[in-house]
């Protein structure tokens, strides 16, 4: 029986000829990524036997550099664990630092056609690399690193075919806000992205879209492989043995939807929910904001920083509004330094923080206070997500956030891109 990409990857990883919706797949885990929260004392257990150190990656990301004693303790636990089992891929505070999903992208750790797990919900980010990647729980990670396995209930697949290309000032975030606003949650379903317009999306754009799949509550979010992915893997991880996986012709999708990228416009999600909550920017234009944030595993890419720099270049952040930008990794931070983006953003009055999950998770470096209004290009706008529960969090693209930081109110980014060529 023909299979979707998710079904094929799960079948191969479990040594079965066939996987279909409703099956339970018990798979070999190619890559297990442990982030710093996994090592917090309430969740971590001392590991006595490890399945295979070469399959483990450790990334400190939510709490770097450590803002609390507890975070510092978790990092110490992670370092001791890495040393004990000889885990080489340890991304500690410093040059290798970054948000786990962004580090995985930078280093080409996500192998096309294989299974990757991480105890963070946005692990689906690696679906941009044709990888069956899923956020799991802390205990799942202990299961994966000690037994080398993970289990998944196989869901139905929804297929999206892209046609056309985005207009200037419209980004992958807006594609996501369109899908979330139009089609809502995809609970227990896989999402598969492809179509003739997919090639117009950069790897960074695909990462944004794949990352945000967590907000669709999808199981696996997977892009088709193409030449752009092949080139990317050659550059980032030339030694990797990859298994690029296309869907079988005639495979069964629960639904198949076509999106003409050229028809999309900048959107904003209203506070408290990401799905079924998108409106055109014009509908909330003029809403005062105390803070604009651009960062997280979804929007801390070099493309995102380039857009922010483009919008704020030679201008100033409005009085009464804060602009906070957090690159996804220190590698991206360095690239942004070399490209002049950091200078441009800071000269405009923005703050560029070290790479961390930071403000997106309300942990540090941009936590919002009571009754504040934030416009964010990150992953979530839930009540209390970025700080005090009385704060209101709108979500938009990096371009919309940057344009709004300059005026102090939610602003359509179109005028900053009028002369550009897509």
């Amino acid at each position: 029986m023909p299979m979707t990409i998710a079904e094929k990857i799960l079948a191969r990883a479990s040594g079965e000829a066939q996987m279909k919706p409703g099956d339970l797949a018990v798979v070999d885990v190619e890559t297990a990524v442990l982030m710093d929260m996994t090592f917090l004392p309430e969740g971590w257990r001392e590991v006595l036997k490890l399945h295979d150190p070469s399959r483990v990656v450790i990334v400190f990301d939510h709490l770097v550099p450590a803002p609390t004693i507890q975070a510092a303790t978790a990092h110490s636990t992670g370092r001791r664990f890495a040393a004990r089992f000889g885990i080489e891929r340890l991304h500690d505070v410093g040059l290798d630092q970054g948000i786990a999903h962004a580090v995985v992208a930078d280093r080409g750790y996500a192998i096309p056609g294989t299974v990757l797990v991480n105890g963070d919900s946005h692990t689906c980010a690696a679906g941009a690399f044709n990888c069956a990647a899923r956020g799991v729980g802390g205990p799942d990670m202990l299961y994966a690193i000690t037994l080398g396995k993970a289990w998944f209930r196989v869901g139905e697949t929804i297929r999206y075919d892209f046609t056309g290309s985005l207009r200037p000032g419209v980004s992958a975030k807006d594609i996501f806000l369109y899908i979330a606003g139009t089609h809502g949650a995809h609970v227990n379903q896989n999402v598969e992205y492809g179509g003739p317009g997919m090639g117009t999306l950069s790897m960074n754009g695909r990462r944004t879209l794949a990352t945000m799949g967590a907000e669709l509550s999808a199981e696996f979010v997977i892009f088709e492989p193409d030449d752009m992915l092949t080139d990317y893997m050659h550059q980032m991880n030339p030694a990797a043995v990859t298994y690029p996986t296309m869907p079988d012709p005639g495979c069964i999708y629960h639904d198949r939807r076509t999106i003409d990228l050229g028809t999309l416009e900048p959107l904003v999600a209203l506070p408290d929910a990401v799905v079924n909550n998108s409106v055109p920017v014009g509908q909330v234009e003029g809403q005062h904001i105390d803070q604009a944030f651009i960062g997280s595993c979804a929007n801390g890419t070099l493309d995102d920083l380039a857009v922010v720099a483009h919008v704020v270049k030679g201008r100033h952040v409005a009085k009464g509004t804060r602009l906070i930008v957090t690159p996804g990794t220190q590698t991206i931070y360095h690239a942004a330094l070399r490209a002049g983006y950091v200078e441009t953003i800071t000269a405009a009055g923005g703050i560029v923080t070290p790479a961390t999950c930071g403000a997106c998770v309300g942990a540090h470096l941009g936590t919002v206070g009571p009754d504040e209004i934030c416009l964010t290009a990150s992953t979530r706008n839930f009540k209390g997500r970025m700080g005090d529960p009385s704060a209101r969090i709108y979500m938009g693209s990096p371009a919309t956030c940057a344009a709004s930081a300059l005026t102090g109110v939610i602003t359509h980014p179109g005028s900053f891109f009028a002369g550009d060529v897509a």
Binding site: E42, R45, V47, P139, D140, L147, W151, V187, S217, R380
Partner: protein, 172 residues
């Protein structure tokens, strides 16, 4: 009720898309599991913990448990919720229910069949849920036996302990 896998309690009803931030708010992420269990729904329904009794039941709507991977299921287990039935469970939340040994199942039609304060009874042997006020019985969607075994056995950690893969600890 009959059999070893029969449970019952008073119903607390919740709507669609209840997220894990509501069950385990961000500021409590870094506190002990015991303290986390005292923060369940404090931002959206502060009376829940004051008034609920051990064994009470949560009836949820569509996509219950959406959001982050945080161990919200552990907090529900630790604060004494007997079991949870929802129209649809978020996949990641469900994993944590299995992993932390908290009974949570999908039961189509459940949000219409129960009102706040009703008594819900669950039989895992028969895969049914009953509203004792109306007498209506609904089918609960069975889960694979490997997962049910882990869920009823207290989760993944006791299993890994028994295999000698992780060190033992009394809490968590």
């Amino acid at each position: 009720m009959s059999g070893s896998n029969a449970l019952g309690g008073k119903v607390w009803k919740f709507g669609d898309n209840i997220n894990t931030d509501l069950m385990l708010p961000g500021p409590w992420l870094f506190r002990s599991a015991e303290e986390q269990a005292k923060a369940v729904f404090i931002n959206n329904r502060p009376e829940f913990l004051r008034e609920m009794r051990r064994g009470d039941v949560i009836i949820g709507g569509f996509n219950y448990g959406m959001g982050s991977s945080r161990p919200a299921a552990r907090s529900l287990r630790n604060c004494g919720v007997g079991f949870l039935l929802a129209e649809a469970l978020n996949g990641l939340f469900f994993r944590n229910c299995v992993n932390f040994g908290f009974k949570a199942f999908e039961c189509p039609g459940v949000s219409k069949a129960f009102e706040e304060g009703d008594r819900a009874e669950l039989s895992i042997d028969d895969w049914t849920a009953t509203n004792t006020r109306t007498g209506q019985t609904l089918a609960v969607t069975p889960i694979p036996s490997m997962l049910l075994e882990m869920m009823l056995g207290g989760g993944v950690l006791p299993m890994l302990e028994a295999k000698g893969l992780i060190a033992k600890r009394n809490v968590g």
